[in-house]
Every structure is written in C-alpha cells, then in structure tokens.
Symmetry: C2
C-alpha cells in the first residue's frame, strides 16, 4: 500500500480550481490497473457516485427547501467547511418527519436514480468474489434502499444515522433532531477511518475507493486507508478530485471493462475432460453475457486423432461433441478444440489440466516458459508420479514446473452422468482462497455442486488412491460377493487412503475424506467406474481358466481410455515397499499382488491375513 | 482393596506348624469368589506353583549338589532365613556355567514340569482378557522357558537376574557370580513391591496372587499389594500359607471352574438376529470346549408364530434354522429357541437385544426386575424412541430400564450375507472397556471383523440414521440415476447423520463415521438393504400412476420383516421440527416429505433447493 505525502494533496486541494490545465488520468497506469484488478474490497461513495443526485439535496428540493441546502452541500464537497458543520446545518434546514422521508423514497425510487453502469459494475465485482461497500457522509435511511437494490448487505454500509424525537404520549417517531455523532462517517476523515476498520476486520490486501468528492479522495491519504482512489466524473467533476485521483473515469463501463476477464484453456479431451469442459463452457458463456469474469471462448487442447477420414478436432469444432470419448453429449459451442498445446494456452490465465496422469509431466515440460506469469491452474487429473525421493502429486508437478498456483478438483465424477446433467458433486482443494472461489465459479452448476476445502493434498490423494480401492471393489464384484463384503472392503480401503495420505502429507485433514473427493468419489467409482469394470472382468477371465492381463482387458473394454488404478497401485506399492509400510496397508498390498498375478483374486477377501502380508515383506 | 492387620498374620507365621488344626478354606467365601472373577490381573508364583519342583533345587540335583540346596530352600520358604540370604547361599552352592544351565533346561523341558491344570487355567484367564504375570524369587533364566510355553510375554515376568563373569580374553560368559540385587524380587517384600509397581503402570482394580510360599502370602499383606491371595497346595502344603490364604486349592481346576462362565440370552429372532445368533452360537460352542468363558447353550427368545401346523420355536429347535426369516442358514445347534421372554433371560448375565426398535421398550418393561443385577447388555437394534424431552437411543432405554451397562453393535450387516459367512464387519460402541472386549470375543469370527469405539451414541446414531439415507438411495435407484447422483446423495446423507448425531450427543466423535457402523453400513444398506428395496419400489409404483403406501409395499416385499427407515424418518423429523432444525437437514427433510406423499420422488435430487426446505418451515 503506497504511503502518500498528505501535504502535497492539501496544496492541490487549496489551489484555485481553474488555474491548472485539466490532468489527463483517464487511462490508468499499469500499476493502478493491476491494483484495480487485485482489489478484494471496493468502496463506493454514494451521493453523485452511485446516485445521480445528492440525496439530501433532492430531499430538500422535495420538501421545497432545495436552494438553501444545495449551497451548503457544494461548500462541503469542495472542502470549504467541515463535514460535521455542513451536515448539521443541512439537517437543520431539512428537518422532516418520517412520513415525509417515506414519501420521498417512494417518489424517487432507487432504480430511477442509479448512475449509468454502476449496477453492472457492482454485479461484476460481486461475481468475482470481491466485497463491495458503500461509505457515505449521507444518511443510512436514504442509502439502504440503494444497498438493497444493488445486493449489498446492510452490514456493508457505513453512513450516518439520524436521531429522531419520540412523542411522549404516543411513543411514535415525530421529527429529526440531528444525527448520531458517534458514527465514523460523521466526522472529518470518516471515510479513511471506515476503511481502517475494514482492514481490522478482514485480511484485505488491496482496497479501492471510488467517489466524486474531496472526502472520498481523503480515503487514500492516510496509512491504513484505501490503496487506490478512482475519481468518478459522471455527475460532477471536481478538479481537485480529478487531479488527485489515481484514475479518473466518467463512465463506470471503463471500470467494468478493465476488470479481469479470465481466458480459460482446457488441457485434455477424454471423457472426464469433456464432461468437465461442458461445465466450464456453460459458465463462461453465462459470464460473458453478464459479469464478464470469463471470456466466452474456451480453447481445449485435443490430442489429435483420425476418426475415419476426419480429424477429431474438426469433428469437435463442428459438432461440439467428442464422438470418440463422450459421444452424445454437446460440450458447448464455445469450446474450441485445438491440436497445438502452446497455441491452446496462449493468452490464457486460467489453466485446467485434465489428462491421464502419465502424460502430465511431458505437458508441463512443453508448457514451461510458455504460460502467463499470473496464470492460475487447477488439476482434475488423478494420479501421482513416483520418484526416489517420494511421491509427487499432479498439482505439485504443475506448481513446480510452471511456478503458478494449482488447485485441484476431485469428486464423484462418472463422465457420462455429468455429461447428462445428473446431480453430481465435487470438492475443490485450494491453497489460495481466492483461487478456490474462482474455480468454484468456473465449475459449479445447478446440477454440479462444489465444496471447497483448504487441503489440496488430501483431496488429491483421495482422488488418486480411490482407484486402487475401485480395483478391490471390482474383484469383490467379480467374485459375486454381497454388499456387506463390498462395503467392508471399501471401508478398509477408505481408511488406508486416509492413513497413507496423512502419513505422507501431515497437513491432510480427516474431514476431507467426508467430502465428495473422499467417500462420495469412492462410492461412485466402486460402483460405476472403469477400474471396477476391468477388475471384475479380470476375475471372470481368471475363473474361466483363460486369464487375461490388465493391458488386454483395458484395450478390450475401454475404447482407448486409460485405466488409472493399475498404474497407481504399482506406484503406491513402490512407495510402501521403499518405506517398509506394506504391512500397514494390507488391502493396497493385496490388490497389488492380485493385479501382478502373484495372488489369486480370492485373496481380496482375505486381505487381513498375515499370509498375504508376509509374502510382500 | 481390603487393608489387613499385618501383625495377625505374622503371629500365624511364627506359630509352630503342627499345633493348630488344619483350617478348611478350600471353599471360597462369596466375596472372595467375586474378587477372583473380577480380577483384571492374576499373578502366579513360579516354583512349586506353576512348576512341579523348585527349579533351583532341581538344577542343584542335576549338578549333583541337591541336598545342600534343598535344605536352604525349605528354610527360606518357611520364613526362617531371609530371602536374600538363602538366595545368595544357594547360588554359591550351585555355581554353574551357562552350558550347564542350557543342558539342564533341555533335560527338563517346561512341558514335563508344569503343574496339573495350570496351563488350562492361564489360557482361560487370558481368553477373558485378564493379564497374567509370573512373580518369582527364582531366576529369569529358569522361568522364561515356562513363560514362553504359557504365552506370557517376558515383560510380564518379575524375577531375579543372575550376574555372570565374562572371560577377559574371549569375551565369553564363563561362571555365575551372584545376582542383581537391584531387582525388586531379590529382597524381602519383593512380591508386594512388584504388584505395587503393576498398580502404578495399569489401572487394575483387583489383583489376585497365587502361590505356595510365605513370600507369596506377603503379597496381600501391604497396602498396594494384591487384593486376594489364593494358596496352592498341589505340590507343597505349608500350614501358615494355607491358614493365611483367602482361598486354598489343591487343584487348579477349582480355579478354572470358578471363573465366570457367561450365560448368553438372545432376544429377537428376525433375519439379522438369526445371523448374529449364529456368530454367538459359534463362539459359545468354541469357548465351552476351551476357555469356558461362555456357556455352550444360548437361549433365544422367539416371538411365537405358527408356520403351517407347527410352532416356529419347535422348528428352530429341531432344524436349527429360522425357516421364516433366514431360511437356508444353520444358526447352530446350541441355540435354544424359547417363546417365553422371562424364561429366556433367567440366569443369563449377557443379554443381546435384537428386535425391531418399536418393540424394545415393551420388552424392557417386561424384563425390569427380572434380569441378573450384574448382567451386561448389548443392543443390535437400530432406531430411537422420540419423546417430548428428546430422542432416546435403544441402548439408553435398556440402560435406564434395567440399570445395566449396554454396549451397541452396529455395522454393515445384510443378514443373508453374514448367514452365508461372507466377509463382513461391525463396530462395537462401548462405555466400559472390559464389556467392549467381552462382546468382541462373543461376536468376532474369522469372517466377521469387529472394531471397538468408545462412542456408543455415535455408533448407534449412525446405525439408526443411515436407514433414512437408504430410503433416499432407493428413490435415486427408482429414478434410475447413475452412481454419481447416488454417491452425492449418500455423502450428503452421511454428513447429515454426522451433524445430527454430534448436535444431539456432543460426545460423538467424527471418526466413528469412518468405522463400519458409519460409512460401511451406509454403503451396504444403500446397495443391499430393505429400506432401499422398498423405496425403489415406491418410485416405480408412483411413476406407474398407481402409487402404493409404504405399509403395503412392506407387506408385499418383506415377508413380515419390518421397515425401520420410514418410522425412523418420522421420528427424526419430529425432532427436527420441534427444534427448528429442518433447514439444516435438507436431505432428511426431503426424504420425509416424499414418504409422506407431500413431495414427489424426484424431489430427492433437488433436496438442496430452498423450495423443498421452505415447505417444511
């Protein structure tokens, strides 16, 4: 937050208004624009900023006492008399009853009095998760109708309160008798004081103040006040305000346009990638029509294949459908399939990774040095890389290779069902709360609920390890055991998942496993996923006397999709072996024995027996 | 623990052995018998108690120096010389090499030297979860072979250690040079000191000491020592020991026989009751053949019905099968079906409750005043009673009506699968750890794993509330939604279960929901249970245009079994309504709306929408 020399500004304020040429600060400097985009809280002055007229002036006019009040207002806004003085004088002149106030608000409803573009701007800010405040030297009674109209909660309004006189006999409110001088905004320096109070209550790093008057400009003048001041000249232009502003706009559309518009790039085009891309496409479409947070077009990197005599990218761009991996689902006409990885991410600041996990490392290496420095990423990929020094999650791989924040989205995600808009859920694990919120806005739809957890490793480990348990569930199904046995195996698997995740990443939280990425993903995968399907087929082939290996079953059953569980099981087992942990994870160990042909499928229901474990030690 | 007047005992010890008539304390007093049964730890002297001869005497004989040593041993056991003195003298005479010691042990292996019945007694104690210790004034080197034979860990052996001389040149052990005088057992009063140390390490309430010598009798003489002393006269009878003992036995079989033999009564005979009874029957059968912890015969209360022209109890007693509720499963020929409730529980001290929950209260009222005062109970029943002052769990109902401890067993329990010995699991929630352990021994089998959690309310609430979620799962199945949707609904249900359990019973632990009673029971019930089945049928009937109510579907589909979920849902909903909590439990509330015909089944996938919730507020 920049510290300003207050004396300089005071000089400008005192200088005669017309003696200097107008300063052109209608195009913001780069640093100012960055602060505007970053701001977590935006504070608006109300009179002549949010409203077309000063409400107190208009009220005086409504009461037939306009001229006397307008004169005092001008003096105050030009800094010629103190705020308290002007307020006291104006209120004395207005001196109205509650009924008169109500009549006034009915005669001039907020919708007719909002400045151009302010409503859209505030919606756009709110859609981006920014907090919006109204800070005014006027009165709450006159401001709350606007707050309601703009969707700003009353607790986000800082303003003065009228004191009223109550009739001794009837107990009814009769006349105004001044204002509550304890309110921050009733005094000189009230606006920066209100902002300082916000800083105490919330961890905002950047706060913007927007207004038309000297009292608004004051908000950036002290340490602990706002970080940038944007002057607004759509109703009144005050030279001192214009010259003192970091950025001066005559139309709120300039501010809306300048807000960040995220460009999303989607890396991957398998079944799950297409189902997820459909969610993203929907939200980018809607956003481009309203808040503008996301650009409408979403580029999707597709590993090029020939489908008959045509290219897969051409088919997707023409039919908005991945006929090979998610046939029958329209993924959205704003998805643009692109066979070139670097072209896909060009200009994008939001990257979604959703490829089989064995490909992510190569993709990251190609992307290194070729993505926006301020980009953020999310991984939908389940799996891990095993290195001598320990496992590496996909989100870590993205974070370390590209040097950008990487959240994860994990959950109970059978691609076809999400493609068909069946009720589903997912969990986003984040490290930076604002990025978690951003991705929630990017993915959540009325049929796809998203929960946020501050536990990337927990969510990702759950999403990864559950594929091993799904193989176990497939074996149980292949052996035609009942729901009891399957539930017992799944529960044992869930507890091994949790134990291993917490052992490798001590920050992992138990409760993450109650979220969609934990128990729900496990259930969906153990009943509907492809690991389960192939494992079941493995048992049938084994029992029929002509066993088939997993590679062959994968090719036969999955139409080119990859099986994550087998690879993950081998990777996890090598971690368990190196660390001497096999005996603590008997179910994982039994699964690995079965998939490698060292144990018969029936070993799955005897996973606890020492015999199995000891084979592996 | 009784405090004794040490002087009295000393008088007896000093008195000439033959001047008094032998005291008959071979039949224990009632209080002594109770202490024997209660003891959590039992300490055995070794020489002439566990072994037929004094090992040091036998070793001396083996070395050809028997007479000199036997004389000293007798003097010590009669209290004529101090223990330390006798030990030092005897060791000086024996003075052997390590090789001689090894040869001795090989020549007299432990199996040939154990006293009659001691092995069986120690097994029976261990099977009951009691800790067994060996406390001896002899030497570890001579005792450890016996400990190994009896399954007693070396850490449970208190004895003296020989000091050895090591050859300067070779570093090899050559000769014994006395003993470690720092060991507790090397001094007068060493046995009570060892017991006092046990009390510091473990929360034993009652400790029994068994032995043949004066030093064993000493173990009860001081505060902090053993609570009862049982004299053993199978090898040597010392008058002072016999007279000072709380109980004197010549055969360990007397002690084995006197151990508690639990008589189990099983209340209930539905499908789940029969599957659970089969587990109990197996364990009671095995126990009666070995440790004797449980009586072989288990009475089972059966609500009498006519099956054709025969009584159900007669069929069960003849065919060992409940042909109506769990056909095809042999529940064990030691199950005795009994149509009379009070006769069933007569003499029983372990009560298993497993009836539909709406019947439990009546059963408890009939039982009041008619069950053993020291009985313990376990409830396998899922459900709750709703009263104006709040819910009452079944375990609370049993506990309050009968004034006995009541654990619960909850888990993923599809009766048929357990009947068929498919791998299954359950969770026992307990308040008294020893009772939890007892029930684990009563229920666990190689195909039925039991986990213990110190959280009765959590386990029972999970088992009860999951039936509501199972209805939701059945609706999802009826609507033919995919695994994603079902997983999302189940997860939401699990979280509502957890939230409500913790809100009503603040001691409930999150982690209980990761156990079989939580996530596994939920999975098994949502895929294989009868609530799911009937809810699915409800949707089909509803969609076909001829809806049927749950009572009719229950009658059509369940062959007389009761549906818990519908009743539980209504009970839970009345709690939510009274407390104004409906909005916090939208899934439970949607289920209740559907079963009462106020919402269509399709509302289940829209449970989150405010519309549904607001209907109920």
């Amino acid at each position: 937050m920049p510290i300003r020399i207050v004396a300089d500004l005071r000089d400008q304020v005192q200088a005669p208004a017309l003696s200097k040429p107008p300063k052109d600060n209608t195009a913001p400097e780069r640093a100012v624009l960055a602060q505007w985009r970053e701001a977590q809280a935006v504070c608006f002055d109300v009179d002549c900023t949010v409203t077309q007229q000063d409400s107190l002036d208009l009220l005086a006019e409504f009461l037939g006492r306009g001229d006397q009040v307008a004169h005092l207002t001008d003096k105050a806004m030009n800094g010629e008399v103190s705020l308290e003085e002007a307020l006291r004088d104006r209120l004395r002149i207005i001196d109205c009853t509650p009924e008169e106030l109500t009549s006034f608000i009915q005669a001039y409803p907020p919708t007719t009095r909002l400045t151009k573009g302010v409503s859209k701007l505030i919606s756009a800010l709110q859609a981006r998760g920014k907090a919006v405040y109204l800070i005014s030297g006027g009165f709450r009674e006159l401001i709350l109708p606007f707050a309601r109209e703009l969707g700003i909660p009353p607790t986000n309004v800082f303003a003065n309160r009228i004191n009223w006189q109550v009739d001794d006999e009837t107990g009814l409110v009769t006349r105004m008798v001044g204002f509550d001088e304890r309110e921050l905004t009733s005094k000189q320096g009230g606006k920066p004081a209100a902002i300082a109070q916000l800083r105490e209550m919330y961890p905002y790093e950047t706060i913007a103040m927007i207004g038309d008057g000297i009292t608004d400009l004051e908000a950036v003048e002290i340490t602990g006040g706002a970080d940038i001041f944007i002057g607004y000249g759509g109703v009144v232009v005050r030279d001192a305000v214009r010259d003192g502003a970091d950025w001066f706009v005559n139309d709120f559309e300039d501010l809306s346009q300048a807000l960040e518009r995220h460009q999303v790039a989607f890396i991957g085009s398998g079944a799950w990638a297409c189902a997820a891309a459909k969610l993203v496409a929907r939200n980018c479409q809607l956003s481009s029509e309203s808040t503008g947070e996301f650009e409408k077009a979403v580029r999707m990197w597709v590993y090029e294949e020939q489908i008959g005599d045509r290219k897969l990218t051409d088919i997707i761009n023409e039919r908005h459908e991945n006929v090979k991996y998610l046939p029958g689902v329209n993924i959205g006409d704003n998805i643009v399939a692109c066979p070139d990885l670097l072209e896909t991410v060009q200009g994008a600041d939001v990257l979604v990774f959703c490829t089989p996990h064995q490909f992510t490392r190569d993709i990251c290496r190609q992307l290194r040095g070729n993505v926006n420095l301020d980009a953020v990423a999310i991984s939908l990929t389940k799996g891990m890389r095993v290195r001598a020094e320990g496992p590496q999650l996909i989100s870590e791989m993205v974070r370390k290779n590209l040097n950008i924040d990487c959240s994860v989205l994990m959950g109970a995600n059978i691609a076809k069902d999400i493609g068909n808009e069946e009720l589903s859920e997912a969990t986003i694990g984040y490290a930076v709360p604002a990025n978690g919120e951003l991705f929630k806005r990017l993915f959540e739809t009325p049929y796809f609920y998203v929960q946020l957890v501050p536990d990337i490793a927990g969510a990702e480990m759950a999403g990864t390890l559950k594929n091993i348990v799904a193989l176990a569930a497939g074996f149980v199904d292949g052996l035609q055991k009942g729901p009891n046995t399957k539930a017992a195996i799944m529960r044992a698997g869930l507890n091994e998942m949790r134990s291993l995740a917490e052992r490798i990443y001590p920050t992992v939280r138990d409760n993450t496993f109650f979220e969609s990425c934990g128990v729900a993903d496990l259930i969906a995968t153990c009943y509907g996923g492809r690991n389960r399907l192939v494992a079941e087929a493995y048992v049938h082939a084994y029992q029929s006397g002509s066993p088939k290996c997993f590679d062959i079953l994968e090719a036969e059953l999955l139409a080119g999709q990859k099986l994550q569980g087998v690879l993950t099981s081998d990777e996890v087992q090598s971690i368990l072996q190196v660390r001497g942990w096999e005996a603590d994870y008997p179910l994982f160990t039994a699964v690995n024995g079965i998939i490698n042909g060292l144990l018969p499928p029936t070993a799955i229901t005897e996973y606890k027996s020492a015999a199995i474990t000891s084979q592996w030690q």
